[in-house]
Amino acid sequence: MSESVLTSEKGIGRSPAERHRPKGDGMRGFMSSSRSDYVILAIFALAVLTMPVWLAPIGAGYPDILQKFAIFGIFALGFNILFGFSGYLSFGHAAFLGTGSYAAVWMFKLLSMNALIAVVFAIVVAGIFALLIGYVSLRRSGIYFSILTLAFAQMSYNLAYSVLTPITNGETGLQTSRSDPRILDTMMGADPHILRTPDFFGIALQGWPGFYFCAILLILAFFVTMRIKNSTFGLMLFAIKSNQNRMNYTGFSTRPYLLAAFVISGMYAGLAGGLLAVTDPLAGADRMQWTASGEVVLMTILGGVGTLLGPVIGAAVMKYLEQIFSSFNEGFLHRSFDFLPTGLQDFVVTIVSPFVGEGWHLTLGLLFMIVVIFLPGGIMEGIAHLTRRFRKGETGGSGQTARTGH
């Protein structure tokens, strides 16, 4: 099948790989087998499932925050499929997060408290919504694309407060109530008038079970992302990011590829939104606000755009810092700095207090600036620097694939 373009004088039937490769696998990095994928997946799964243990020392060993890590990890993973792989920066992904939440709560109201049904529905609805928004937004690229997505998300946000109040319940937010039909649950003999929490076939998803439910979905989402990244589809997305013109002159219709990436990442956002509703069955329009869209951009950049693990780390770091800094108040600061003389103590507290509590976004802004200026590749780049330093002198070439290596 694959004959040479030139009349081959070099022996028929042997591929260049066979001819050149002396012994063993000379194509390090390039040919990294699917086995190494499973090793990465296993390590990732282990790390995620044992988070309650190894994150306890820094005060993050409780389910509420850990499930936030997982949920926003999923959100960022999906966002990265669009932004990181194909280079299209959406500023409206919170619309899909919010849609997912609404869809899930509606399932809790109409059908069942089973989280699986809610989550699947959230993914489907967000996917359809993403198809519509993506179809229009992808008529443009670059900054115009970003603006279009932002506009759509803000429109959704406003509609949720106005025209769509029958679906969204406006400012109050959508929640479950005793009068909901919950058809499936009633059919199964449950009393619809007793308000229950979302469950997974009988396991109430509160506390630790809630976290593990999210964690397993995060691991699944990670696995799917990994497959996409290494797939032909993933390669096409990276190629579009690198040179969309060349893609066109190479015979590819690039827009369908981008739309597919957009929809997939919208579905991830829908899943994340659905999970937010699972852990707390309440959906509000504020989830769709542009700040929420901006947040996932920051998470992805903070962790490392286009890398596999970066967005998950970025999401966790951001949610952790948010938790820490927003919980500080002046009283806490005074206690922390009470080793200083009173005058100096007041001074330090005055300086520091705008950065904590409500003002933690200032800290976030600073952190973001530092990362973008000193580590444009995000936390993953930092990690790569460190490992290279440790391994210095061991081998010349890096074993990383072409795309993660910059």
């Binding site: 040479s4 050149h20 194509m27 032909t232 390669l235 690198s242 040179n243 002159y249 190479t250 590829y257």
Partner: protein, 253 residues
């Protein structure tokens, strides 16, 4: 003529007040090597842009392999069998050499759009072998894992040629394929292009290097100020007064 793979007739294009192309007529015979020469700004690249769908001509017609090219998008034109090497390499700078060559091979195998989000790209055997052969033929094998941005200019041009050849195009458009290459690289490229000619790929080549033109082309068209002023065999062109004038009288050479 029935064995013309490409016929351009009456093509014109204006950029504001500038007539970049003015009633261009050009026929390329199936299987031939057709060179286009001419001073800077003559409209050579603009003509190629009309062929690949980057620019839509204001007037005229372009027929390739029995069908019109006008009104088709670049990816459709490529799928119809036209591949192009650009004057400044259009390649995937952040990806590896191997990936750069596999991508066009995928376009040939899978068409303009196909989602294959599960199987590993690198394990598509047919595509990989095709890419490996081309890399081998173009002496890029040793660099297959290198990131393209870190390659020399000459190597980038060779890579772009590889990306076109891996598609087995019916018509290959080359816009100054040896510009920026060393003498040795230029000679290698000429040898290579001669070999491809044996395989029957029709080529249109824009070139400033007369040594390259006269050692490759069977037909030479001379462009100046947006139109074809002469056409003939290399010998005829060399002897033509009109051509001498276009070059010597032109402001650029």
């Amino acid at each position: 003529m029935t064995n013309d793979i490409l016929s351009i007739s009456g093509v014109g294009k204006r950029f504001g007040g500038l007539r970049a192309l003015d009633d261009v007529n050009l026929n390329v015979r199936q299987g031939s090597v057709h060179a286009i020469i001419g001073p800077n700004g003559a409209g050579k690249s603009t003509l190629l842009n009309c062929l690949v769908g980057r620019i839509i001509p204001d007037e005229g017609s372009v027929t390739f392999d029995g069908g019109s090219l006008l009104g088709h998008s670049p990816h459709q034109i490529n799928q119809a069998g036209i591949a192009r090497v650009f004057q400044t390499p259009e390649i995937f700078g952040e990806l590896s050499v191997m990936e750069n060559v596999m991508i066009p091979a995928f376009a040939r195998k899978d068409g303009a759009f196909r989602i294959n989000a599960w199987a590993r790209a690198r394990e598509r055997r047919a595509v990989r072998e095709e890419a490996e052969h081309i890399l081998d033929d173009l002496n890029l094998w040793e660099q297959r894992d290198q990131i393209v941005n870190s390659m020399s200019r000459g190597d980038k041009r060779r890579l772009e040629l590889a990306m076109c050849l891996v598609q087995h195009p019916k018509l290959l458009l080359l816009d100054e394929p040896t510009a920026g290459m060393s003498r040795a690289d230029t000679n290698n490229t000429v040898d290579l292009l001669k070999k491809i000619a044996e395989r029957g790929i029709t080529k249109v080549i824009i070139e400033h290097d007369m040594h390259v033109v006269f050692s490759l082309a069977e037909t030479v068209s001379v462009m100046a100020q947006g139109t074809v002023i002469a056409e003939g065999t290399p010998e005829q062109i060399k002897a033509s007064d009109k051509v001498q004038e276009a070059y010597l009288g032109g402001a650029h050479l």
